[in-house]
C-alpha cells in the first residue's frame, strides 16, 4: 500500500503534533480508543468461524507434509551451495564503518581470531590476543544511589530514543540490546536460555546429587535426582525424589507419592493456579502448565512458572476475559513463584505466591538456598509518543523531544523490576504499588552500555518455605545464559551493538515503502559478556569480575569452571542464517576484577552447526554436524594454550554427551546418511582415554526414532553405582515400535554399552472432566463420567524422566510412575498419578 497521506485534521502544516501510540495518554489529539474497538471487533468476528465445521482428518495434513518434504529434498542440494556462498560473502564484507551510530569498544573483531575466512584447520592462539579493554568495557559498576541510577539510565536512554521510542535498526533499544532469537525463543535472548539449556551437554555429575532427608527404608545414598549440569548444584525439574517420597509436576498438577520401600504409593496432589483469569495469560498460547518446574528442599517446594500478568488494574474498561480474544495490552511477562507445603504429604498445600516482572531464565539450588535468575525488559512500558506524520522532519523532531521528556519523567519504578505477593491478583492487589525487586545500591551496570533491561538474581530460602525474594542483585543488561558451580554463579549477557539515534528514521520517509524484511545485524557485532558472582552459603551474591568475547555461547553448557579457569565455547556467526561459521573455546581467569582471557582455540566445525559441548576435567568435547559428525577433543590442560587434540569423524551426530566413567563418553543423538539425512536415535559409546585418538566403541541405533534427551538433558540418567544409563526413545515405525526407555550397562573398560532392558510406561486413558466427556486423539470417545477406554493401538507413553530409588528405577510419563528393577529393568508396579475412576 502507499504511505498514508497526512490528513489535514491530523497535522496542520507547520504544526507538528505527537500522539500516544497506545491511545492512553494523548497529548494533542483526541483518541477515540480505536484499539479497544478493534480488540472487540476481532474477538466478535473470530466466532464467525466457530462451530460450523470440525477439523479435517489429520491424514490430510500429513499428506501435504509429505509433499512439502519431497519438494524440500529436491531443493536441498542447491540450497546448501547457496548457503556456503552467502557465508563466504559475509566473511569478505569489510567489517568497519558499515554501521551507523556508536559501536562497542574494542573493535569489531575483539577476540582477534573470529571471522577469519579460509584459515586451515583448527588452531590454537596463545595469550595476548585478547583486547584487555574488553573486560573493562563489560565490568559492572555499582550505582551509589537511586539518583545515580536514574542519572545514568536517563543519559543512556536519551542518547538512544527516537521518534518511535527505542526503535533502532537493530531493535536493540528497548530490548536492552538483546539478540532477537527466532522461533527457538519465546522472548528475546533470555527466553532462549531455558530452551537451549535443555539441549545441552556440559560437565555434569558422574553421580547424582540430591538433597536427602530423614530415615527411610531406602538409604539416602541410593536415591538419584535427575540429571543436572554440575555436581552439587540442583536444578528445577518436573520430578524430585528423596528417600521418603517422590514429587512430580505434570499438566499443572503437583503430585506426591510416598515411598514404601522402593515402590511409590500415590499420596496426594494439588492443582497449581490456572491462567484462566483476565489478569493472566499464558506465555506461548500453548499449555501454560508445560512451563512449570519444581524445586524441593525439606518439606517445602517452590514451583516456578511464567505468564503474562496484568501490571496494574484494568484501565477502566470492561473486562475482556473471554479466552483468546482477551486484550493483553497491559500485561507483562512475569515469573511466578509458588510455595508448596509438603509437611502433610497426603495434602500438599499452596502457601504463598510471588509475581516478579520479568522472564524466568534459570534457577540453581545449593544447600536449600535457591538463586533464581529473572530477566526484565523494563523499558518497554514507557509511554512513548509517535510522530503524527512519519517521515516529516518537524513532526519526528517533536516526537523525539517529547520522548526525551518521557524519559526525564520516568521514575525509578520504570527501570527497576518489581514484585507482588498474593495468590490472586485482584484489582485491589493490583492497585497497590508493587515492591521494587532490587535496591539501587545492589544494582550494577556494565561500563559499556548493554541495554536497558535488568537481570536479577533473586535468593529464596526454599528450605524455610519462603518464596519472598531476598538478597537480590541486579545487572542492567539482558540475560543470556546461567551457569553455576557450588560457589560461583556466572551470568552471560549477549548484546548487539546498540546505535544511538542519529536523527533519521530508516524506511519511514514519506514517499518510500515500508522497510522490507529485516536484515539482522552482522554476526560480528554480537558480543557476549560474562559476569561472575561469588555465591555464599547464605546471603547476597557478591560481584567478582566480568569478561567479554565475540560470538554467542552455544548453550548454557558451554560454560565450565575447572581449577579456577572458566572455559567458554562460542560460535562466531550469524544467529539467523542457515550456517554457523566457526566455533571457539576460550579460557579465562579472574584477575583483579576482570575475567582475563588466557587462551583460545578456534577453527572448530567451520560452516557447521554445533550440536553439543562438554567439558570434563581438562578436556573439552565439541560435536559439530552438517553431514558428518566431527567430535573434537580439546586439550585444556594448559589453559593458556588450548589445542585441538583429536578429531573423530562419524555419520550422524551426538546432541548430548555424558561422561560415563574414566575415559568414556556416551553420546546420544541421531544417526544420519552421508548426505546428512537423519535416520533415528543413535547411542554411541566413545573411548576418549587418549584425547588424541577418540574412538567409537559401540553404537545402538533405533531406526526412525528420536530421544527427548536431544532437547532436554534432564531426561537422561546416569547412575554411577551400577553403571546404568537410561535413555528415553520414541519410535513411530515398525511392527513393535518402542516408546519407552532403554537401559545400558557401561562397565569400566567394557568394550561396549550392554543393553540391560527396556522400560515401557503404560498409556493412561486421557481424563476428561466428569459430566463433560471429550474426544481424545485416535478417535476414542470418553464417557461423561470421565472414563476413557484404552486406545486401539496401545503403545507406551513417552518417558520423560528416570530416577533411581534404592534397587529400583522409577520412570515418569504423563500418567504416572513405573517402578522397575534396577538390576534387570523388569517391571514391578505401575503407579498412576490419580486414583482410578
Amino acid at each position: 500500500m502507499s504511505p498514508n497521506a497526512p490528513s489535514a485534521s491530523d497535522a496542520p502544516e507547520n504544526e507538528p503534533k505527537v500522539f500516544d501510540a497506545s491511545g492512553a495518554m494523548d497529548t494533542t489529539v483526541s483518541i477515540s480508543g480505536i484499539e479497544g474497538r478493534l480488540a472487540d471487533s476481532l474477538g466478535r468476528r473470530a466466532s464467525d468461524v466457530d462451530g460450523t465445521r470440525a477439523a479435517p482428518p489429520v491424514a490430510r495434513v500429513m499428506d501435504r507434509s509429505r509433499q512439502l518434504g519431497a519438494r524440500r529434498q529436491a531443493l536441498r542440494g542447491a540450497v546448501s551451495v547457496a548457503a556456503v556462498l552467502v557465508v563466504l560473502a559475509l566473511l569478505l564484507v569489510p567489517r568497519t564503518g558499515d554501521r551507523p551510530g556508536g559501536d562497542v569498544a574494542g573493535g569489531s573483531d575483539a577476540t582477534g581470531t573470529g571471522g577469519v575466512a579460509g584459515v586451515d584447520g583448527p588452531r590454537g592462539d596463545g595469550a595476548g590476543r585478547a583486547a584487555p579493554n574488553l573486560a573493562l568495557a563489560s565490568s559492572l559498576q555499582p550505582f551509589g544511589s537511586c539518583d545515580d541510577f536514574l542519572g545514568w539510565v536517563r543519559t543512556e536512554a536519551k542518547k538512544r530514543v527516537g521518534p518511535f521510542g527505542f526503535t533502532s535498526r537493530d531493535s536493540s533499544g528497548s530490548g536492552g540490546g538483546f539478540v532477537e532469537d527466532s522461533f527457538s525463543s519465546g522472548r528475546g535472548g533470555a527466553r532462549s536460555d531455558r530452551e537451549q539449556s535443555e539441549n545441552q551437554s556440559r560437565l555434569s555429575p558422574l553421580d547424582q546429587s540430591q538433597t536427602r532427608y530423614a530415615t527411610s527404608p531406602v538409604d539416602e545414598a541410593s536415591v538419584s535426582g535427575t540429571n543436572t549440569e554440575e555436581v552439587g548444584v540442583d536444578e528445577p525439574d518436573i520430578i524430585k525424589a528423596d528417600p521418603r517420597r517422590v514429587i512430580t509436576l505434570l499438566n499443572g498438577v503437583l503430585t506426591t507419592y510416598s515411598l514404601d520401600g522402593v515402590t511409590p504409593r500415590l499420596a496426594g496432589s494439588v492443582k497449581l493456579p490456572t491462567f484462566d483469569s483476565s489478569s493472566m495469560s499464558p506465555v506461548r498460547g500453548g499449555d501454560p502448565s508445560a512451563e512449570l518446574s519444581l524445586l524441593l528442599a525439606g518439606d517445602r517446594a517452590v514451583v516456578l512458572s511464567e505468564a503474562y500478568v496484568a501490571s496494574g488494574p484494568p484501565p477502566g474498561q470492561a473486562d475482556r476475559s473471554s479466552g483468546a480474544s482477551s486484550y493483553y495490552g497491559r500485561q507483562v511477562r512475569t515469573t511466578i513463584l509458588t510455595g508448596v507445603d509438603l509437611t502433610d504429604l497426603a495434602a500438599p498445600k499452596l502457601t504463598e505466591t510471588v509475581h516478579i516482572t520479568g522472564s524466568y531464565v534459570s534457577a540453581r539450588v545449593v544447600g536449600g538456598k535457591a538463586r533464581v535468575v529473572v530477566s526484565s525488559d523494563t523499558a518497554t512500558d514507557l509511554p512513548f509518543l509517535y510522530p503524527s506524520i512519519s517521515g516529516d522532519k518537524a513532526s519526528e523532531d517533536a516526537a523525539v523531544a517529547a520522548n526525551q521528556r518521557v524519559i526525564d519523567n520516568a521514575g525509578i519504578e520504570r527501570w527497576v523490576p518489581t514484585y507482588r505477593t498474593g495468590s490472586a491478583l485482584t484489582t485491589e492487589v493490583l492497585a497497590k504499588p508493587p515492591t521494587p525487586l532490587v535496591d539501587c545500591a545492589n544494582a550494577r551496570h556494565p561500563t559499556e552500555f548493554a541495554g536497558f533491561g535488568m537481570v536479577s538474581v533473586v535468593s529464596l530460602d526454599v528450605a524455610a518455605g519462603s518464596v519472598t525474594p531476598v538478597d537480590t542483585v541486579g545487572v542492567v543488561a539482558t540475560a543470556d545464559k546461567v551457569y553455576a558451580t557450588p560457589e560461583h554463579l556466572y551470568m552471560s549477557t549477549t548484546r548487539v551493538a546498540a546505535p544511538e539515534y542519529d536523527g533519521t528514521t530508516p524506511g519511514t520517509t514519506v514517499g518510500t515503502v515500508l522497510p522490507g524484511p529485516s536484515t539482522p545485524n552482522p554476526a560480528e557485532s554480537v558480543r557476549t559478556a560474562i559476569h561472575k558472582f561469588a555465591v555464599p552459603v547464605s546471603g547476597r551474591p557478591e560481584y567478582r569480575a566480568s569478561g567479554e568475547l565475540t560470538g554467542v555461547l552455544l548453550n548454557d553448557f558451554a560454560l565450565s569452571e575447572h581449577d579456577g579457569v572458566l572455559r567458554a565455547a562460542t560460535t562466531h556467526a550469524s544467529l539467523y542464517g542457515t550456517t554457523m561459521a566457526e566455533s571457539y573455546v576460550t579460557t579465562f581467569r579472574e584477575d583483579g576484577g576482570a575475567l582475563k582471557q588466557l587462551g583460545q582455540v578456534g577453527g572448530l566445525g567451520r560452516n557447521e552447526q554445533i550440536q553439543s559441548v562438554r567439558f570434563v576435567g581438562t578436556v573439552g568435547y565439541v560435536v559439530t554436524f552438517r553431514q558428518i559428525d566431527p567430535l573434537y577433543t580439546i586439550d585444556l590442560a594448559d589453559p593458556v594454550s588450548p589445542k585441538v587434540a583429536g578429531e573423530l569423524k562419524l555419520l550422524g551426530y551426538s546432541a548430548y554427551l555424558h561422561p560415563v566413567g574414566p575415559g568414556r563418553l556416551l553420546g546420544i543423538g541421531q544417526d544420519a546418511t552421508a548426505q546428512g539425512q537423519t535416520l533415528g536415535t543413535k547411542i554411541s559409546l566413545f573411548d576418549v582415554a587418549d584425547p588424541a585418538t577418540p574412538k567409537e566403541l559401540s553404537t545402538t541405533t533405533v531406526p526412525m526414532s528420536s530421544s527427548i534427551v536431544e532437547q532436554d538433558y534432564r531426561a537422561f540418567l546416569w547412575w554411577g553405582p551400577t553403571s546404568l544409563a537410561m535413555v528415553p526413545v520414541r519410535q513411530a515405525v515398525g511392527t513393535d515400535p518402542l516408546v519407552g526407555a532403554i537401559g545400558f550397562r557401561i562397565e569400566a573398560d567394557a568394550p561396549a554399552a550392554a543393553e540391560v532392558g527396556r522400560v515401557v510406561n503404560p498409556i493412561m486413558g486421557l481424563w476428561c472432566p466428569p459430566g463433560v466427556g471429550c474426544v481424545v486423539p485416535g478417535g476414542v470417545t470418553c464417557a461423561a463420567n470421565g472414563e476413557c477406554p484404552p486406545p486401539e493401538n496401545p503403545i507406551g507413553d513417552p518417558i520423560l524422566r528416570s530416577v533411581v530409588v534404592g534397587d529400583g528405577v522409577l520412570t515418569l510419563s504423563a500418567g504416572g510412575l513405573q517402578a522397575s528393577s534396577l538390576a534387570t529393568l523388569a517391571p514391578r508396579a505401575w503407579v498412576p498419578n490419580r486414583p482410578s475412576i
Partner: protein, 182 residues
C-alpha cells in the same frame, strides 16, 4: 544481505533440539516423534488457528487452506519443534500475508472476490476498513489486538524487526482512524 528465515517460505530456524540449520534433514525424526502427539496438537490448535487466519484474511475458505498448509509445515518439523504454537502461528500469519498479497492485485478490479462468503449480518465499518489494509498491517493488528502478542513476539512471528512492528501498527491504526472517523 541476509533476510531472516520465515516459515512460510523456507525451512524454519529451529535452534535447540535437532536443529534444522545446515541442511540437516530431520524428517525421519519428525515422523518418529509421535504422530499421536501431533494429532493431539492438531486437534487442539486447529480452531484457534482458523480463527486467526480468518481474522487476518477475512475469508473462512482461504483460512482453512492456509491453516492446513501451516500444519503440514509443522508436521514436517515435528521432531525438532520447540515451540510448535509459536511456529504454527508464524506460519499461519505469513501465509495469510502472502495469500493476501496475491489477492490484493485483484482488489480494485473485483472487490467481490474478497468476500465470497462473508456473512453480512450487520454492517461493520471496522471490519471493512481492515480489509483495505495491507496484508502485513492487518496481520500485525490481529496478532496485537486479537492474539494479544507483544511487539517482540509479533516481530518474531512476522520475521521483521521490532521497529518495523511499531511502525506497521502505528500506520495501520492511523489508517483505520482516518477511514472510520472522518
Amino acid at each position: 544481505m541476509r533476510a531472516r528465515t520465515r516459515p512460510s517460505d523456507q525451512d524454519p530456524v529451529v535452534r535447540p533440539g535437532g536443529g534444522t540449520e545446515g541442511g540437516q534433514e530431520i524428517n525421519a525424526a519428525a515422523q518418529a516423534h509421535g504422530s499421536d502427539d501431533f494429532e493431539a496438537f492438531y486437534l487442539a490448535q486447529w480452531q484457534p488457528m482458523v480463527r486467526l487466519a480468518y481474522l487476518a484474511l477475512g475469508s473462512r475458505e482461504r483460512a482453512e487452506d492456509v491453516v492446513q498448509d501451516a500444519f503440514a509445515r509443522v508436521h514436517l518439523r515435528w521432531g525438532a519443534m520447540v515451540q510448535p504454537v509459536a511456529y504454527l502461528r508464524a506460519a499461519v500469519v505469513n501465509a495469510c500475508r502472502d495469500d493476501g498479497r496475491r489477492l490484493a492485485r485483484y482488489r480494485h478490479r473485483e472487490p467481490s472476490l474478497l468476500e465470497p462468503e462473508a456473512v453480512e449480518d450487520q454492517p461493520d465499518e471496522l471490519w471493512d476498513a481492515l480489509s483495505r489494509l495491507a496484508p502485513r498491517q492487518r496481520a500485525a493488528l490481529v496478532l496485537r489486538y486479537y492474539e494479544g502478542l507483544q511487539e517482540p513476539e509479533i516481530a518474531e512471528a512476522l520475521g521483521v524487526r521490532r521497529g518495523t512492528v511499531k511502525s506497521l501498527l502505528h500506520r495501520a491504526i492511523q489508517q483505520l482512524r482516518e477511514e472510520i472517523e472522518p
